[in-house]
């Protein structure tokens, strides 16, 4: 396929879609599917067929629409109507009303801040295209950035564009993406690799899953552009086996791209070749750590390796390797389409663009959101999510999962960017955001995350293997009102040792939930302490004993 043929295909597909008077988009991402979206979709398809409306109304399985708390969601185009909590019983009414007024009792108000305050880049197509059809992606401009990159730009220019955009790694640490691309581009090696890290493992996080389920080609396009920029010919998407739907859609997407010549040899009939293969994670959280992920792709145990050397110079099979997260790659095509200047105009001085968060907890509305960097936590919790229902009061918001921290109410006006969150002892993380009300005990929260780190520790290095176990024991003891002041001191001490001496990010950040809850909710620890083991009659014994005979 040539770029011209792509444009042709795009036009044809749009015309085909405009041939329908209506289009019912049924959310078929994991969350809505689990509440019955598949049945709704089948029901709608049958009903439309029976009514003889097949030429008039398209039923489209679409990606995530974000408001998971109101699923299953069905959107009606071009009327721009959103139906919520749709059940199979509602199908006849929806189909009946296609040419009249929308069904009032199913309407979801799209003027609420949940929809209005978001800024969609990564999720721009999510819920609007059928993730199982490459034509849908091409119709909305997909693969056009790749065409431009391959035909009009040098690899250096692509790297520079990413540098200029200010994009930073969305996996959590926030390393400047352009800098990483530049390092891999400059590195020498017989072969170079591009890896997409889709081993999303934080409890409560489902951003990458949603992107892969809703717009898989976007990630492939980003990876392909990256491969061109750094000089790689082989790519891998390392996706956890717990995401069967994402895997299925990725596999389909790769096949479709190959069929159209958007992957493989001579992409867009240029000399550039690039192939993406899928590698499945077998359930180890640590494989989200880049060196462990690489070890896993190589076929070994998923164990991290000391860095340096960094994968950019010495990665997969010892070759220079670019490894970015799903969301990072999902930004690439948009940046090249709209320009680095456009991207860097969104967000704050040091954190550009948007961030996708999966919002969970006792909120009026929760689900998947994409917000500009620099938005305040308060806007997310109280405007977008509509606050806490039933008179519950906000206690803390947890970001960054087991590597992150809990932020209390008094810091709700903090801007969501890498540096501000880090200052508070939390991290941006990959995008899990869990809101807690007063029923959450913070020692219990810390214990939960520590248990997670303990069971997910690979066991290679001593501080993480044994330290997380010991910290969990101490947290358990304190939570069960058996811990003493000394146990609390020991906990803090172990936090420091594990953070400073662990081999990889898992251990280095495992103490974060403890440290942040100790920082903001120390009283919850202290009120559980029991009286200390009996001490001697004096605090500093040696000084007070007159020993000279």
């Amino acid at each position: 396929m040539t770029p011209d043929e792509l444009s042709q295909l795009s036009v044809e597909e749009r015309e085909r879609q405009q041939g329908f008077e209506h289009c019912l988009n049924v959310c078929t991402a994991a969350s809505c599917l689990s509440s019955g979206a598949e049945e709704v979709k089948k029901g709608l398809t049958t009903a439309v067929k029976e009514k003889g409306l097949r030429e008039k109304c398209r039923i489209r399985g679409a990606g995530c629409m974000g408001l998971c708390s109101s699923g299953p969601l069905v959107a009606l185009d071009p009327e721009d109507v959103l139906y919520q909590h749709v059940g199979v019983d509602d199908v006849p009414e929806i189909v009946e009303s296609l040419d009249t007024q929308p069904v009032p009792r199913l309407l979801c108000d799209t003027t609420i801040p949940f929809f209005q305050r978001q800024k969609k880049i990564v999720l721009e197509n999510s819920g609007r295209i059928d993730p199982e059809r490459i034509e849908d992606y091409i119709a909305v401009g997909g693969y056009r950035s790749l065409a431009r990159v391959l035909t009009e730009m040098d690899p250096d220019e692509v790297v520079q564009e990413i540098v200029n955009s200010g994009l930073r790694g969305r996996g959590g640490a926030g390393y400047p993406t352009g800098l990483k691309w530049g390092t891999v581009a400059k590195a020498t090696g017989a072969e170079k690799y591009v890896i997409c890290n889709a081993d999303e493992g934080d409890p409560g996080a489902f951003m990458d899953r949603a992107v892969l389920e809703s717009d898989p080609h976007r990630v492939l396009e980003g990876m392909t552009i990256a491969a061109y920029a750094v000089g790689a010919t082989q790519g891998y998407i390392y996706v956890r086996a717990e995401y069967p739907l994402a895997i299925k859609r990725l596999r389909q997407a790769i096949k479709q791209a190959q069929r159209l010549g958007l992957q493989g040899d001579r992409i867009y009939e240029t000399p550039f070749r690039f192939t993406v293969d899928i590698r499945l994670g077998a359930g180890a959280f640590v494989c989200g750590e880049e060196t462990a992920l690489i070890a896993s792709i190589e076929g070994g145990r998923g164990l991290p390796r000391p860095r340096p050397p960094y994968p950019a110079n010495h990665g997969l099979w010892g070759c220079p390797t670019l490894i970015n997260n799903v969301e990072t790659f999902a930004n690439v095509a948009a940046i090249l389409r709209e320009g680095a200047g456009w991207f860097s105009s969104i967000g704050t001085e040091k954190s550009k663009g948007t961030k996708v968060f999966s919002l969970a907890g006792p909120l009026s509305r929760y689900g998947l959101i994409e917000v500009p960097m620099g938005i305040s936590l308060r806007e997310i919790v109280f405007d977008i999510a509509g606050g806490l229902p039933d008179g519950k009061s906000f206690k803390a918001v947890q970001t960054g999962g087991p590597s992150g921290g809990c932020i209390p109410a008094r810091h709700l006006d903090t801007s969501v960017d890498y540096e501000s969150l880090r200052e508070l002892g939390a991290i941006m993380g990959s995008g899990g955001m869990i809101v807690m009300d007063e029923s959450s005990n913070m020692v219990d929260v810390a214990r939960f995350f520590m248990e997670f780190c303990m069971t997910e520790s690979c066991g290679k290095c001593v501080p993480c293997r044994v330290g997380t176990y010991q910290m969990h024991t101490l947290l358990d003891r304190i939570y069960n009102r058996q811990g003493t002041k000394r146990d609390l001191e020991l906990l803090s001490e172990l936090c420091e040792v594990v953070r400073e001496t662990s081999l990889c990010g898992l251990g280095q950040t495992a103490p974060n939930p403890v440290n942040s809850t100790l920082r903001y909710f120390r009283d919850e620890y202290e009120e559980r302490l029991v009286s200390d083991g009996v001490r001697g009659p004096s605090g500093d014994p040696l000084a007070q004993v007159e020993m000279t005979p």
């Binding site: 200390d532 083991g533 009996v534 001490r535 001697g536 009659p537 004096s538 014994p541 040696l542 007070q544 004993v545 007159e546 020993m547 000279t548 005979p549």
Partner: protein
């Protein structure tokens, strides 16, 4: 000989084999030197029944294995200015902790009920001969002393050599903090 200003020393034997006390006695004539500058107010080697108040230094041998050990350790701690854990059992629970891999019931059954445990007559089926009164109740796990009470100094070894014990006592009597690492270690 007793003098109100002389330092008051004590030693105690909890869940251990008394090997540390044997090693203590191996100080031989140096014991006399110590006795000439300090009073030994409580020890398996002296006749006092109740642990006295106002003890300056107590050397504690053995792990914490029973409820009684916990009580003793707490009482001694509250009456002692400087508590020294003497020997690996006190420090690490050592050999005593080998029973920690089993439940207390299994340990007692092994000791009192299983064939070959020396009990005559053999217990009736389903009935344990493990003592229910008078003998202190075992804790779920034997633990080092410092997991139960605050310990000021540690003297490793199984047993610690007499020289290490002598060094520790004389340093403490001289008002210095002992570091016996050059004389002993775990398992010595």
């Amino acid at each position: 000989m007793t003098n109100a200003t002389r330092p008051r020393l004590a030693t105690i034997w909890l869940d251990g084999c008394s090997g540390c006390h044997m090693s203590l006695l191996d100080m031989d004539e140096r014991l006399i030197d110590i006795a000439s500058v300090a009073d030994i107010v409580f020890s398996p080697t002296v006749d006092t029944k109740e642990f006295p108040e106002n003890v300056d230094v107590t050397l504690m041998e053995g792990a914490i294995g029973s409820d009684e050990d916990v009580e003793k350790a707490r009482k001694i701690r509250s009456r002692t200015k400087i508590l020294v854990s003497m020997g690996d059992c006190a420090l690490t629970a050592n050999v005593v902790s080998m029973r920690n891999l089993f439940t207390v019931e299994d340990v007692l059954a092994r000791a009192y009920d299983e064939p070959g445990s020396g009990n005559v007559p053999e217990p009736r089926p389903g009935e344990s001969r493990a003592p229910k009164r008078y003998v202190p109740k075992l804790q779920t796990k034997a633990r080092p002393v410092h997991e139960v009470v605050e310990v000021d100094y540690f003297l490793p070894g199984c047993p610690p050599p007499a020289d290490a014990i002598h060094y520790t006592i004389t340093e403490l009597l001289a008002g210095r903090a002992p570091d016996p690492s050059h004389l002993t270690r775990f398992g010595r």
